[in-house]
Symmetry: C2
Subunit: 462 residues, 2 copies
């Protein structure tokens, strides 16, 4: 049964399992104790730190183990901001950072700090010049992911790092998605999460370059040089380090192999399924992630049907989130969010599994569309005589993708030059109606507040 959600969590790597089991016997004691069980634990911890530091590209005393990638991000950001308290209070982040970064930023803002989000283009990439323009010497900290977790786009970390260095601003790089594939250059602080590369849950990495001002926040704790509180999760740390080394050893070959499989998905999906938008940078991207959105499709049903067909994928559609808001990444990119599917291939994914997915997908999408009464892909029927210059579609109370489907159903009922106004209280409509216009070559006029919900106005131009 193919699991295609490695970007959420990867299955345990065999080396991680082996290392975990081997260290259960020797890794349960307190590494701070001086008796033999403690000394043994300390040896394991030191060796794991050296291995992880080598993979990250830093000194062992610059690397700290945290309980998760989220903890690494939260501690890294709060510690770096506090360390630069006298310099300034501004935090600059990209708009497509992981929610752990954005939540830390929100927490900083709530505490009186200021936060600037740097926007991205339709591929999800920040422009280094735009990022640099938001900073000056009083900027406390900048955060930029090495690659995006939802669409796979790689960020120009080296260029942004240069801008940071020129201003003396420390740069925190969230390398959660890319560390398995290789080290990152230019960071002042780096964070990562072991279960993303096939290590066990319960281990994050926080690297802080010597010379970077850092003031750990929260109650004091002597573990991990004061950078991460709590008893170290030693067998998991050993397994994390061992599997990172193992994953790196096969990274080049595996990246090439998975990149070819992802290329096949990127190429074939738009051929096999109508009205699809493949999103994310086609070249500068993670080797194993591909994301696309399908018009007139309900993401939750799509995921459910793919799951029934044996494929586990993830989605940034609003209907798959508890908040009914599309993923902030898709919103920042301004791309279609309905029927969104992220495929992230774990190491070892077979060609047959990818082919199986490509076989199943078109039928699943067709089914979902039929059930929703979506308009046919190539509506070749001649438009009926225009009855009115403008139409209003009431989609209040209807969730994604219904507002877009209702719009598509009536667009040909107005003459070229006429408008359709969609009334909707669904957050996804704000993103998906303009995206539909872009895909359909129609003109998106704009939105305005309505008595209930929002009125989205579209002009038929063809």
């Amino acid at each position: 049964m193919p699991y295609f959600d490695a970007a959420s969590s990867a299955p345990l790597h065999p080396v991680a399992r082996q290392a975990l089991q081997a260290s259960l016997d020797e890794g349960w004691a307190d590494p701070a104790r001086l008796y033999r069980e403690g000394r043994r634990a300390r040896l394991l911890l030191d060796a794991a730190r050296e291995a992880a530091a080598e993979a990250v590209g830093c000194r062992p005393d610059e690397l700290f183990f945290t309980p998760s990638g989220t903890h690494a991000i939260h501690s890294g950001i709060s510690g770096a901001l506090a360390g630069r308290r006298r310099v300034g209070r501004r935090l600059v982040v990209s708009a497509v950072e992981h929610s752990a970064v954005l939540h830390a930023a929100a927490s900083w803002e709530a505490a009186g700090g200021s936060v600037t989000e740097v926007c991205v283009d339709r591929q999800g990439t920040v422009a280094p010049a735009a990022f640099a323009a938001e900073m000056d010497k009083t900027t406390a900290l900048a955060c930029l992911q090495s690659a995006n977790h939802e669409v796979g786009t790689e960020q120009p970390v080296r260029e942004v790092a240069e801008a940071c260095r020129a201003l003396g601003v420390p740069l925190l790089v969230d390398a959660a998605q890319s560390l398995a594939w290789g080290p990152v250059d230019g960071w002042s602080l780096l964070t990562a999460s072991a279960h993303k590369w096939g290590g066990p849950a319960g281990v994050g990495l926080l690297a802080v370059r010597k010379g970077v001002r850092f003031a750990p926040q929260g109650p004091a704790d002597e573990r991990e040089s004061g950078r991460s509180a709590g008893f170290q999760n030693l067998p998991a740390i050993v397994a994390a380090a061992a599997s990172l080394r193992a994953v790196r050893a096969e990274a080049a070959d595996e990246a090439a192999r998975l990149r070819a499989l992802v290329d096949r998905i990127r190429g074939r999906v738009p051929e096999l399924v109508s009205d699809v938008e493949v999103v994310g940078d086609p070249v500068r991207r993670l080797p194993n992630v591909v994301t696309f959105s399908c018009l007139y499709v309900d993401g939750e049903t799509l995921l459910h049907e793919l799951d029934r067909a044996g494929f586990s994928v993830s989605s940034g559609s609003s209907c798959t989130s508890s908040t009914l808001i599309p993923s902030h990444v898709l919103r920042a990119m301004g791309v279609l969010s309905e029927g969104n599917v992220r495929v992230s291939l774990p190491l070892g994914t077979s060609e047959a599994d990818v082919n199986g997915f490509l076989e199943v997908l078109p039928g699943v999408v067709r089914q979902v569309r039929e059930r929703l009464g979506a308009p046919a892909a190539s509506s070749a029927a001649p438009p009926p005589p225009s009855s009115a210059e403008s139409l209003v579609v009431d989609a209040l109370g209807r969730r994604c993708p219904i507002p877009v489907i209702e719009l598509a159903k009536v667009i040909d009922d107005v003459p070229v030059g006429g408008t359709v106004t969609v009334l909707s209280d669904d957050e996804a409509a704000r993103l998906d109606i303009p995206a539909w216009c872009g895909m359909r070559g129609q003109e998106y006029v704009g939105e305005r507040e309505a008595e209930r919900g929002v009125a989205y106005v579209v002009r038929r131009v063809r």
Copy 2:
């Protein structure tokens, strides 16, 4: 090789190992996802939560998994204090809480809150009336451990909980040392740590009773109902819950068996070794912990020699800490800190191992004392003719236990009624010189600042 430091970290319980290995295959996916791997992970998580909640004595939706006991304590204290922000800013804790509690308290104080430490008696017990006297209706939170981690003394949680209830003050109970032995009554918040009961590292418990005001601090995160950030460490959580249940099943029998072994140590050590003080409540105590201090002994050397003889124990002596300050627990109790040994027996400790320890200990202590030139235990030699009414011993620059040894060497050189003044800059002397007087039946006059260090004055009264 007997390991006698279960209160630091217990070896992995066989049930924990089994559960961990079994859940590695099914517990790596994100339990928040809806595909089959996520649903399986969710089932494991739900089952673990139910099992742990049953052992704690709460509803599953009152129990949250954290990355460690330390995280449970830090989050529990900060969340409860923030939840009662409008009521008041005072935190009341016992003076012998775990350092994680005291560090959280220090952090609260640094942020403008106020902290009151309730003192303990020589057994390490807080008096419920004294605890109650420090609280009123505007107290934000009270913290009391169920049992002390260094000396094993059980605290009167029920009585303090009643006082708290009467005032409407929430009570956080750190149950790290006692949860293996049974549930705790009367708490509003409870914390614990899996590796103390033979579960894996990386799992803490935070229980928050419904109705207790709680405002999680730090960046938002949807995991664990917002009570604990980061991807759940699922195999470890499963192992923690399974082993807690297993440990509880054997708790009554094992407690009785270990209690008898600890009683043997409590009884035999003072018979086998001269000048020993066994500390902690002899009756109201954990079944598996016993702590004693040996006069004229250097704790670090003692631990080292016991380790060489095959016994792993811990110590609260100043020379075994990085700060050169004796354990805050021993200081709060006012008992001797030099030559301190904590024996905490893991489940399954054999009688033979305990007997082996009792055989080895006297020789090890004798050796250490001889090397330090300590006075003989029963100095039966007639005192030499008194040469002076008062003597000054310069022990500046000498570490524990030398200042006490130097005092003991000259006490008989002054006549009854005369004084010995010890000049010392060792923090342990402040605790150990009065403790020596207590053990020796001499009068401790007091301390005063000296040109260098502190002058401790002792009057010979016998």
